[in-house]
Symmetry: C2
Amino acid sequence: MEPHLTIGEVARRSGVAPSGLRYYETLGLIASERTGGNQRRYRRSVLRRVAFIRTASRVGLTLEQIREALATLPDGRTPTAQDWSRLSRSWRPLLDARIAELQRLRDDLDSCIGCGCLSLERCGLQNPGDRASALGPGPRYLEGDTPADAALAEARGGGPGAAARP
Amino acid sequence: MEPHLTIGEVARRSGVAPSGLRYYETLGLIASERTGGNQRRYRRSVLRRVAFIRTASRVGLTLEQIREALATLPDGRTPTAQDWSRLSRSWRPLLDARIAELQRLRDDLDSCIGCGCLSLERCGLQNPGDRASALGPGPRYLEGDTPADAALAEARGGGPGAAARP
DNA sequence: TCTTGACCTCAAGTGCGCTTGAACTTACAG
DNA sequence: CTGTAAGTTCAAGCGCACTTGAGGTCAAGA
């Protein structure tokens, strides 16, 4: 009686194709009951769940990560507010990090790259003498380290041009 | 004379494997010169370019989109500050949208989902009587529409429970 | 009752962003 | 000069997130 949405209705309202919904089900992300004729029927709450999955997915989380997060809820029944709060808290640092990363990229576009240094290699964000390699592989500055971090690592590691450290 | 970085050095410094760098080259994202013995040699500027590609990729842009954006630069030589500014401006709305989306998700986690409504269907962010479907398919609220938008669409479209509109 | 559109399963296919392996060559330290 | 780490090409493979197609069943209106 409670579950009354067909897969087609859920597809239309969630924006996820029926095949996608079946796929989510095989991964354990959503659940359904079956009619006598083996057709899926969904509860309304699946809409919110799917919306949540889609958004988290767009954000860059894998379906497995999303599954794990949702699995921390007591799938027995009716998660408490505390359950959801815990889920919320666990995702927050990741979201904050992603937001910070995007803002950094945007700011780089505005300041450094906008000024032409990507080609001319002449501005403040630039990697002076490849110092940043002391921090390990990868594009350090764009991933959150600052030139100050590079200087610090250089001072510790004893790279070229030892900086003064009080 | 100018290009002196081997593919291994670029790999170590950029955090992208040699195979990945060759792949980027086949897509026209980066360029290299060759030694007499057919080995690749890179300019230092490729490091910044690769860092940029990686970050934009992490942000959710496809390599094709990144290629197109980079292709708007005059690959003849030395793009001007105006060229980079144009590139910067074209990406900005996309970045702003992504940032806004993430912030919305974070806020939803804090308020709506944190309060337990995902399962209990009882809070303000909830979709009253499936109103949001008037806005079209997909998870409308999480993608930027507000309950106010839903009410508006409902008033115009003549859905159930016509709201008063001055 | 019949018909039509929506649904079912299962296997295979797709597109993206790389990685791996085979078979071979180059660059450079000793 | 020689050994070896690092480089080369090309084809195939992989993981993710789905989609497509074949072959068949179900549900509901005329």
